[in-house]
Amino acid sequence: MDRKNIKGFLEFVYDFYKSMKAHEITLVYEGEITHQITKAFTSLTESNMAKEEESNSVQKKVFHVMVECLQNISKHADSFGSDDFLFAGRGIFMVSKGDSEYHVTTGNVIENTKIDELSKILNHINSLDKEGLKQLYKTQMREGRLSEKGGAGLGFIDIARKTGRKLEYHFLPIDEETHFFVLTSTISRSE
């Protein structure tokens, strides 16, 4: 890097650092989500929460939500086309911690053709109350089949149940074939 590039890069690093601080991000990752990554991130977050004496129930909720979010990416993030390995099982994963809540955010590329189905599932989950979610979970557990990649179609329902909130999601257009799917889960720190 020449002098000008170094300066630009340093500024980028510092800006990145500042915006992480501003958004209270405690963990951010972009790349392939493997089982090892899932284990590393959950145990890191677990030990941080234990250090900060977060209540057991909050710790468990954050743990649950992290695992399901990470597995969603590893199992569903698209490898659109046939062998575009750049996006398969990859995405961005972030954990942020504010005064009153934790946020777990995932972002991954999704093919346009899958958006309708995914929206339908998410909207259906969001239309249900606590009891409805419980029934849906039971039905899905009984009637759903494990996908080839080991997905049980239960992750989103579980996130909605554990957080006690509506699933907050957005689709951001990327190009003619794909969108960027962002899901943010919020876990309250008070009980």
Binding site: H35, H64, K134, L146, G150, A152, L154, G155
Partner: protein, 127 residues
């Protein structure tokens, strides 16, 4: 019949299936990388056991965490126990949950609703 004894890790539960000593237990954490590969031998063992079971089968679940993929496989185990009961055998599920863990308690209640097997819910304190 062979005994299954799997020591738990940070992502897989401890499993003891010992027909001779009548110990049937799954405990710990369950988020295996490949749920099917982990639970298949357990389900197969139960099929084999069901062919000539003990007069009473008391199956203990003492889990502190399981992911959604595991929840489906746990149901598969419970359905095997339901079949065993339907075949006229005595079956009891003991579902242990940490006293302060409502979600784990509720998970037990939900399973008890789904399968037709007697359930005993037992809260315990972690010490």
């Amino acid at each position: 019949m062979e005994t299954i004894k799997i020591m738990g890790t940070d992502d897989t539960p401890t499993v003891i299936l010992d027909a001779q000593n009548e110990i049937f237990e799954i405990s710990g954490r369950s988020l295996p990388e490949d749920v099917t590969a982990f639970y298949d031998p357990i389900l197969q063992w139960l099929d084999e056991y069901s062919a000539s079971p003990k007069p009473k089968t008391i199956f203990t679940f003492k889990l502190v965490y399981f992911n959604t993929a595991s929840s489906k496989l746990l149901l598969d185990i419970l359905m095997k126990l339901e079949q065993l009961k339907e075949a006229g055998h005595d079956v009891l599920v003991r579902w242990y949950y940490p006293e302060d863990d409502e979600d784990m308690q509720e998970a037990g209640e939900e399973y008890a609703d789904i399968v037709d097997v007697p359930f005993e819910q037992i809260g315990y304190t972690l010490s």
